[in-house]
Symmetry: C2
Subunit: 297 residues, 2 copies
DNA sequence: CACATGCGATAGATCGTGTCTATGGTCGTA
DNA sequence: TACGACCATAGACACGATCTATCGCATGTG
């Protein structure tokens, strides 16, 4: 009996023309997809793809099946859409970590709003660790932020940390910085930073103790200080912005894994959420753009 | 994400108007179906059925979903049919136990032949135990016969054993027989009978030792002997036939479970087989008819 | 030619979840 | 009041969808 998931695998291969990319699109591993297609072919008694080593080709049977597959998926989608429309407005309580760039959050929320009128979004701010606690207590349905290696989480991307200096700073042109370069510099402490502990350990281990000119829990404030020339600070690479140069510090490479975490008991409600999907998409896109522009991580 | 199997569950409920019967139709347990429907409703954010205690009713959303569900199933079916038609003729090597009534086998094979022209059937005869061995060695794809409590098997029905006597025998009119009734009778031994061991144990345990007038491995021969008045014999109830009366022997109630067993490695090839399905159907029907006509088991 | 790279298939282990049995709750009916 | 018909819930189990690791096979590239 053909199940829907293999139909999705099949269409992914048709769309991507390649098993590996198709697997990525379905968010499964390549072997899983391979097995799935094999199973489909077995239960139809037909070969659907010709695997020449350079590219995948549809067999005649494959082409024929593609028509049905498209209709099947379309019909599922139609059913979901149709029923979704009349579903009572559902509330998604989303926690968003304050350590995400505000511009990204703005973009994501805007896109989420445009994505659906049948869902209401309720945003709760907080540090990632606080949000996880809220999630466990059932106060929010999902969270977006640093998720560490929590097995329940889905990673959207991973990013490194770098030193933010003002564009007119004497070190602004440098591609990388050594510890010695910053030893005599003035720094600003972002007290809420996920990598704060690791940062101070990094410096003390190397016998370096820069002067701390300010301590803040606001990223905006920290960036303002940097732009004003008060000092430099360590931030996630994604905070790159106007008037600021992000420079990698050699030997210092903690990373944070940004992604979503869904409360197990609200999983079914969140699953089909267009808004959450839109938000995830936005973050992935934004990261892709940034990663293309410079490659700090 | 709605999977196909829940759509099938949904349609079964719509068709049967009742969770319990729907579960039976899907060959799953009632709780499984309950959970499945609940899952479907959750992921659509809609109640699909009104469970009043006496009957199940579709909600408006349910009615709407039913339209899509029907289309989805139709499309899956169309895909399977479409591709099946051009699939290379597939060979189903089916083992059939000799302890099944020949008339049933004839009916089943006839219906199987009419069911499909894209499958070829190769029949191997043998005792159930021999067929299991062939199955394990990969020499046949499936077998039909007594399957005991093999967990791999699907039971079609269960039947008891009874004493076959000629219609003109002095005991022919009796509803049941006691051990004493047959103590002085002449019996015919069906050496290949699944219940042979149990039968002799039954008699010896009661200190009864009927005269054995013949030993045979052919059911036809045994029936002929019985009709000819040579003696009586113990057979599965399904062997009831013209000129023979089947009488239950009180205190003697071994049963045999008739069903199909599919080789695990050819499961995918057999799964969609129209012929195997037709054969199963035939046996179920025949058993139902017989069970309705008389109730020996 | 040797080596690297990209891609799909296979094998074995793991884990999620579909399925089961057992049981409870709620109506109707005798 | 007891019983039967029916669906929901809970906990256990088992299968299979999925994963990681690895192989084999082509095709480039120095």
């Amino acid at each position: 009996m053909i199940e829907r998931y293999v139909v999705r695998y099949f269409l992914a291969v048709v769309d991507q023309g390649n098993f590996t990319r198709a697997a990525a699109q379905c968010r499964i591993s390549q072997p899983t997809l391979s097995v799935g297609i094999a199973k489909l072919e077995a239960s139809l008694g037909q070969t659907l793809f010709l695997r020449t080593n350079r590219r995948i080709e549809l067999t005649p049977s494959g082409t024929r099946f593609a028509v049905h597959a498209r209709r099947i998926e379309a019909e599922f989608a139609a059913a979901e859409r149709d029923l979704q429309d009349t579903a009572p407005t559902k509330l998604v309580r989303l926690g968003i970590a304050t350590t995400l760039p505000p511009s990204w959050i703005a973009a994501a929320l805007g896109r989420a709003r445009r994505a659906s009128t049948t869902e209401r979004l309720e945003v709760v701010e907080g540090r990632s660790s606080e949000l996880v606690a809220l999630l466990d207590r059932g106060r929010i349905d999902a969270m977006l932020g640093a998720i560490g290696d929590d097995p329940r989480g889905r990673v959207l991307f991973e990013e490194g940390f770098a030193v933010a200096v003002a564009n007119d700073h004497r070190l602004a042109g440098r591609a990388t910085l050594a510890v010695a370069d910053v030893a005599e510099e003035t720094m600003i402490v972002r007290r809420h930073c996920e990598a704060l502990a690791e940062t101070s350990r990094f410096f003390t281990a190397r016998g370096v103790r820069p002067f701390m000119a300010a301590r803040t829990v606001s990223d905006d404030r920290a960036l303002t200080y940097v732009r004003a020339g008060l000092g430099m600070t360590v931030m996630p690479s994604s905070f790159a912005s106007e008037g600021i140069a992000m420079i990698r510090l050699t030997g210092f490479d903690p990373t944070r894994r940004l992604g979503v975490l869904v409360a197990s008991d609200s999983a079914s409600r969140i699953e089909g959420s267009v808004m959450v999907a839109a938000i995830e998409e936005t973050f992935r896109d934004l990261h892709a753009v940034r990663a293309g522009a410079d490659d700090l991580d």
